[in-house]
């Protein structure tokens, strides 16, 4: 009898607890969701999914944007891990989730999303004819224009896969400039030996894509057409550099975080790298007499120099319910004020050439070389396919095999062609 009473009491307690729990929580959540809704509708005009929230100057940037546009912006921090970020953004866009209005996406995501129909075209509202011309045309065309010709993003900045050299090594081996293929080859030979190399890179399978494509471009090839003999010439060139110990095979395990310390330590004479050299600056190695950017060598002999550009672009979610506010925000991002705010807060080099000329001071060491890149080089977006990450990883994998002599250069070219066909679909 006692047992029965105890079990009944326990059951009653549990049921009461459950009901109280549910009741309490629903009451709370009801009020919080109501207030959340109210605050969202009442206080915020739009929601931005940003990658810059960890920057110490983010709040200043946000204040600038809010003051200039009159918008109250709700900010959601994007995950720092690239896979998680891509997965979340893909989920938001593919499910028609309207909780986020404007999202920052990189080139890989742009290549995947631009023809998906998840993003709003901006030709008539933000990227109008008068503004469009000021942005790098190659980038707009290759990276953020969909198959119908609609531009789906506003580039947040312009970055180049710049050619970096170590001036101390150049001085040591008596080379004054690397202007042609012959100069480049001479510079490869001169400093190499004793753990030092004329060229260094990051050939980890998800990173090597940048450099393979860069060399293919310099040789005048087409990364998406592996029947082009120039492509083979480029890969053979890289292969020979490894064979001649002018560049280390060790770099197939390296990402930028491994490559940059080696560059700072004087192990590499030259390399390709994004950005304005923050890692070199931190190591007190940035400067005209130390590590600096240089003009891309002309491998063609005809004055043709090719360079890749990248950006994170602001895109408008097609499912957004705050399109007017979002367009206002995007418009500001195309203007001088918006670009200047990004430059000051995040060191993001303005994507518009005319704005860069005004906003970036002459004391910025990047200004001269960036304007030369813009005017003297064929500026392109990186070659990407809809199944971007698979394409990049698989090409990187066979590239590593080729550099390790597990497959021949011919086999590499043949397999790369198959991958282009496979991941274009």
């Amino acid at each position: 009898m006692k047992k029965k009473i105890v079990s009944v009491l326990l059951s009653v307690f549990m049921a009461t607890g459950l009901l109280a729990g549910c009741g309490g929580s629903s009451k709370n959540s009801g009020s919080s969701s109501a207030s959340g809704e109210k605050s969202k509708k009442g206080n915020y005009d739009m929601t931005l999914y940003s990658i810059n929230t960890t920057d110490p100057d983010f709040d200043d940037w946000l204040k600038n944007v809010e003051d200039a546009t009159g918008l109250k912006i709700n900010v959601i921090a994007a995950p720092t891990d690239s896979d998680t970020r891509q997965q979340k953004i893909t989920t938001v866009l593919s499910t028609g989730d309207s909780s986020v209005d404007v999202i920052e996406i990189n080139d890989e995501m742009s290549a995947s999303f631009k023809d998906s129909g998840w993003l709003e075209g901006l030709n008539d509202s933000v990227m109008t004819d008068d503004i469009r011309g000021q942005f790098p045309q190659g980038y707009l065309k290759d990276m953020i224009t969909d198959k119908s010709g609609n531009i789906i993003g506003v580039p947040g900045y312009i970055g180049y896969l710049a050619f970096w050299v170590n001036q101390q090594i150049m001085d040591e081996v008596g080379i004054t400039s690397i202007d042609t293929k012959e100069d480049f080859m001479e510079y490869m030979k001169a400093p190499s030996g004793n753990g030092r190399y004329g060229y260094g890179g990051s050939w980890e399978k998800t990173y090597s894509h940048n450099e393979i494509a860069q060399f293919v471009n310099m040789f005048g090839g087409d990364y998406l057409d592996w029947t082009n003999p120039k492509n083979k010439e480029a890969v053979q060139f890289l292969h020979d550099m490894v064979a001649d110990k002018e560049t280390p095979i060790d770099q197939i395990a390296d990402k930028y975080e491994q490559m940059n310390p080696k560059a700072n330590d004087g192990k590499y004479g030259s390399w390709f790298m994004w950005g304005l050299g923050t890692d070199y600056e931190k190591a007190d190695m940035l400067g005209a007499d130390k590590i600096h950017m240089a003009m891309i060598p002309d491998f063609s002999g005809e004055g043709k120099r090719s360079i890749f550009t990248d950006s994170w672009s602001y895109v408008l979610n097609k499912a957004s319910k705050n399109k007017d506010a979002s367009l206002k925000f995007l418009k500001y991002m195309t203007e001088e004020g918006g670009m200047e705010a990004s430059y000051k807060a995040f060191d993001r080099y303005p994507a518009r050439a005319d704005v860069a000329e005004k906003v970036v001071p002459d004391s910025d060491p990047a200004k001269e070389i960036y304007s030369r890149y813009a005017s003297e080089c064929d500026v392109k977006g990186r070659p990407m396919l809809p199944q971007t990450m698979e394409f990049i990883t698989d090409t990187g994998t066979i590239f590593q095999s080729c550099m390790k002599d597990e497959i021949t250069v011919d086999e590499f070219c043949s397999k790369a062609g198959e991958m282009v066909d496979k991941y274009s679909k």
């Binding site: 893909t90 593919s94 399978k205």
Partner: protein
């Protein structure tokens, strides 16, 4: 009256466990059923493809060179790692079971690697095995100054490095669990064996080993399953490289699901891994039942 009571007696326990059953159903059964269903579809989130393909994904798995490489390394990883877990784990447990000064301190610090997140271990190992900046080569160069080797660029050494790091991290935990089994063996048995003239080696093979075998076998089930589902170590240490040579099957599933967004194919791989794990557990349980009998 009594019969009626009996017939309704089952209701109360079911009411009591219903919340747990519902939570379990939602968090475990539903994902399993959804994964099974998805494995029969070609789902590519990026290209918006979702079509029923029957068992095509299952057939394709065995034609995919990336998966074949993943399976072969996973088998290698699990077998080698588990052999060393058992051999070195029992050895370490025996050492920790000895009575010496500082024994408690050693038992505590030996668990530190296990307490570290695998991602942190992987990131540290990526640098640790680096030719220029790694502590492994730095240590070797103290004896062989001209030593140059990048562990993570060759298939064999990269695979060995991953297995070494897995052992470094999880072996102490295995040893501590074996140690708990050792402590249940009464000292009287060893005393009696000693009186009968048994030496240390004989005591180990005739007393210790038989008495801890079941304990070790039991431990092997979760430790093997954990090896089969390892992905974080490889994710942060090698990203599956060089090439695909250190892509464990769980890492491949994660890549297909969350990087390539091939949900259908990833589900197929997950279902196959689930079957392998279930079969392994079943065999292990049968072996243990036989041992009991």
């Amino acid at each position: 009256m009594n019969t009626k009571k009996k017939s309704t007696k089952w209701i109360v326990p079911w009411i009591l466990i219903l919340p747990v059953v519902l939570i379990r159903g939602f968090t475990t059964l539903y994902p399993i059923i959804a994964t099974l269903k998805n494995s029969l579809f070609d789902i590519k989130v990026l290209s918006g493809v979702k079509k029923f393909v029957g068992f095509s994904n299952y057939v394709n798995v065995f034609k995919d060179p990336k998966i074949i490489t993943s399976i072969s390394f996973t088998v290698m990883f699990v077998v080698i790692s588990m052999i060393f877990h058992v051999v070195l784990g029992v050895g370490l447990a025996l050492i920790l079971n000895m009575k010496f000064k500082g024994q408690r301190f050693l038992r505590t610090i030996v668990l530190i690697p296990w307490a570290m997140p695998a991602v942190v271990v992987g990131m540290a190992a990526k640098w640790g095995f680096n030719n220029d900046y790694g502590l492994v080569n730095d240590f070797i160069r103290r004896f062989v100054p001209a030593f140059q080797y990048n562990w993570l660029i060759n298939t064999g050494s990269a695979r060995a490095a991953v297995i070494i790091m897995d052992l470094w991290k999880d072996l102490p935990f295995f040893a501590i669990l074996v140690l708990s089994g050792l402590q249940f063996i009464s000292g009287d048995i060893y005393e009696a064996a000693k009186v009968d003239g048994a030496n240390g080696v004989q005591s180990f093979f005739r007393i210790t080993l038989p008495l801890i075998t079941k304990n070790v076998m039991t431990l092997c089930i979760p430790f093997t399953l954990w090896r089969l589902t390892t992905f974080d170590l490889v994710y942060s240490m090698t990203s599956g490289g060089p090439g695909e040579d250190t892509s464990l099957i769980a890492y491949r599933i994660t890549t297909e699901a969350f990087t390539n967004l091939n949900v259908g194919y990833a589900s197929t791989l997950a279902v196959l891994l689930f079957i392998v794990m279930a079969v392994f557990s079943f065999i292990n349980m049968r072996v243990m039942n036989k041992m009991d009998n």
